[in-house]
């Protein structure tokens, strides 16, 4: 019955390293979304998963970003060769079905040095 959880809470990495961010959606929710929040760009949509369908990757800013969702549940967002402009809070949300109320996790704060 818990909400959306994300790990780690904070991540500091060096420029050029790869990072993986994890999201555990609410049990039974078929839709999962990734967003990021930064001072300069506000809240931006990144990627959307619905059930076993191909994800909507239209918001990914570059090919260094990728995400997968295993077994229709847990999702991992991977950023390769991190850049300083990737520093942001990465937020995950889930909803019971597409187009429904979205519930957000606490986010992962990423700092790229």
């Amino acid at each position: 019955g818990a909400g959306v959880s994300q790990s780690p809470s904070n991540k500091v990495t060096e420029k050029g390293k790869d990072v993986e961010l994890r999201c555990d959606p609410i049990s039974g929710h078929t839709a999962l979304y990734w967003y990021r929040q930064s001072l300069g760009q506000g809240l931006e949509f990144l990627i959307y998963f619905q059930g076993n369908s191909a994800p909507d990757k239209s918001g990914l800013p570059s090919d260094r970003f990728s995400a997968e969702r295993t077994g229709g549940s847990v999702s991992t967002l991977t950023i390769q060769r991190t850049q300083q402009e990737d520093s942001a809070v990465y937020l995950c949300a889930s909803s019971l079905d597409r187009g429904k109320t979205q519930y957000f996790g606490p986010g992962t704060r990423l700092l790229v040095l």
Binding site: L43, G59, L91, G99, Q102, F104, G107
Partner: protein
């Protein structure tokens, strides 16, 4: 893509005051949600309201989809209402399942 404008950007009120926050959007949507981001950064869903009016305690919201705007009303403000209020829109099934967020209204309630 869909553009979302929120007003006012900042609002400072005394405890007990009422306020109205506005959200304008540039295209037809079938998904509109209001969120409150508390000082710790957690986004809390307040309303799922693609059309019509809803109320939840001291908060209520109205969306007039044909005129492309939504309003969030906060009555008898409390200090715990402080934070940033976001309007977010989408068009599920129409290539915009992910929400587009406005820049938010930063609300400060003073005791």
């Amino acid at each position: 893509g869909i553009q979302v404008e929120q007003s006012p950007p900042d609002l400072i009120l005394q405890e007990g005051a009422n306020s109205t926050l506005r959200c304008n959007f540039s295209d037809s949507v079938n998904n509109l949600q209001w969120f409150h981001q508390n000082p710790w950064g957690q986004l809390i869903n307040l309303f799922y309201i693609p059309s019509g009016t809803k109320q939840n305690g001291r908060l209520s919201a109205t969306t007039v989809a044909t005129e492309r705007y939504s309003l969030l009303y906060i009555s008898s403000s409390q200090t715990t209402d402080s934070g940033v209020y976001f309007c977010a829109v989408g068009r599920w099934g129409g290539g915009a399942d992910g929400l587009t967020f406005g820049k938010g209204t930063h609300l400060i309630i003073q005791p």
